[in-house]
Amino acid sequence: MTALTRIASLRRFTPATRARMLGIALFALAIIVVVGPFVWVLANSFKSPIAILTGAWSFTPTLDNYVDVLSSKRSDFVHALMTSLVVATTSTAIVVAIATLAAYSLHRFAWARWAVRALLVWTIAFHVIPIITMVGPWYVAFRDLGLYDTRTALVLTHVVINLPVALWLMMSFFRSVPPEIEEAAMVDGCHSLAAFWYVVLPLVVPGLIATGVLAFIFSWNEFTIALNLTSQANATVPVVVSKFANDYEVQYGPMAAASILATLPALMLMFFGQRFVVQGLTLGAVK
């Protein structure tokens, strides 16, 4: 039986069976295309240089590449890991705090329409332009201020690149809080600050988590700014990972290991905070 007649013979299955077969085929395809590259790179990260260069499919796994990335004197990976953790955590905390406050104010109080519009138009414009266009003036300004190659510069810029999405996300989460709840709180004698803190904020905790998780991932992944506003002392994980690919003598094994290690935090957050990530990405992409 040739492949063609076999495909044509799909017609003899019931629609329900065909639908299930389509589902299985889709899953298989998605797994091969999405997970395949990770598995292949993961396998290479456990190979010796010779096994990599010969493209061997069976090999004796070794941890050498990970040891090299994590503990060799040449590698800045661990230092970069600390920098990335500090920068991503700090910038996430700041951006969630200021975006939440601003979003609540815009949502709750009677602001002039032009003011809200101006803010939204400005944030969307800033969000869509290639960030490298801003890195030039940032570079000059941070040099003037003595902030070039500091974690402060990274935190500040990561706060501002995540601010637009954080603001839109929090606004849409506040919109989903029924106004009656707040009105009831105020009737019961809460002033506006207390109503915000004790009544509304607990209701948008899922929103805070979604915004926080996304801001953390985007800060963790950010490369363009970190590449140009830092040198070796404050290089983040992406900058160090990129070095593996650009050195004159490319070390393929450590390059694979470093890429896998850099991907872990995002995958872990994805695993634990999946619901929030999906919600955040969908809202952030559509709104």
């Binding site: 589902g23 899953f27 999405v34 009677a110």
Partner: protein
């Protein structure tokens, strides 16, 4: 709905409306408005550093003249256009097909969505490295597959005719999930009663797709298209890692070219001028896209 007269207890609470937006506005003013103004000033200046001091000189004519002597600019414009059109077209078609197919699944929609979101969350630098390994001429996965099929090995990143398309493939892998995510949400929101009515009236699958689903999905399709087309200009990390714009200028894209001018050639003034032009193009696309989106019936 706003509460126009919130009961204020104390100054802190009475001025809550104002101080709560202040931090965000300050951050935006300091890190986007001021730098945007600085960028405009830089675009007509030449900036040099000597002994730790910067020197600014007003040289608008020189910066504009540089536009015509920049050897990589023409290639960059052409590459960027090709890249945006082809990559976004493929991403839209594949993303829409996936959204419709996954939307038709009886089970496992959530799992599929989780799986398909992964590429958006992986550090682009790691994606670049992964593909650099897979594209490797000697041992990369792609050439291994070609070899297994009895085909000759291909220089994915080293050939001037192929490098840009190898970058396109990476971008497609990275961003199909984004298109899928937007369109899948829209597919899930399709009104069931309309679908059932069409079904009862005897519409076949093609008619359902062509006459019912696609028109209803059009606003979401336009939103996805506009966003992808604009955000494609941001592509930097993967190009930087995979080809560095090469061989020659065969895969140089706008963000990478700006990086080179700013930080490899140290032409801050001319880089700023190119940046301003890039921003003008991107924002014009956004404005035009907004009109189309409004025309297509989305918010």
């Amino acid at each position: 709905m706003s509460l126009r007269d919130p009961r204020g207890d104390g100054v802190f609470s009475a001025t809550f409306k104002y101080w709560s937006v202040a931090p965000a506005v300050l951050v935006l003013a300091a890190l986007t408005v001021l730098p945007a103004l600085a960028l405009l000033r830089m675009s007509v200046s030449t900036i040099t550093f000597s002994e730790g001091h910067e020197h600014w000189a007003l040289t608008p004519a020189r910066n504009f003249a540089a536009l015509f002597t920049d050897p990589g600019l023409a290639a960059t414009v052409v590459n960027t256009l090709l890249f945006v059109i082809v990559a976004v077209a493929i991403e839209m078609v594949v993303g829409l097909a996936l959204a419709l197919l996954v939307g038709g699944l009886a089970r496992g929609k959530g799992l599929m969505r989780t799986l398909l979101i992964v590429p958006i969350l992986v550090p682009p630098v790691a994606i670049g490295n992964m593909f650099k390994l897979m594209y490797n001429y000697d041992f990369g996965l792609f050439n291994q597959i070609l070899g297994a099929l009895g085909l000759p090995a291909v220089s994915w990143l080293g050939s001037t005719s192929l490098a840009l398309w190898s970058i396109v493939l990476v971008d497609v892998w990275h961003w199909v999930p984004f298109v899928f995510l937007i369109l899948f949400a829209a597919v899930e929101a399709l009104p069931i009663d309309v679908m059932e009515a069409a079904h009862v009236d005897g519409a076949n699958r093609w008619q359902m797709l062509r006459r019912i689903k696609l028109p209803l999905l059009m606003p979401a399709i336009v939103v996805a298209l506009v966003f992808r087309a604009i955000l494609a200009f941001k592509a930097f990390d993967e190009v930087y890692l995979l080809t560095g714009g090469g061989p020659g200028t065969s895969s140089e894209l706008v963000s990478l070219h700006l990086y080179r001018v700013f930080f490899e050639q140290n032409q801050l003034g001319y880089g700023a001028l190119l940046s301003v032009l890039t921003i003008v193009v991107v924002l014009s696309m956004l404005a035009a896209g907004r009109r189309v989106v409004v025309g297509a019936g989305a918010a």
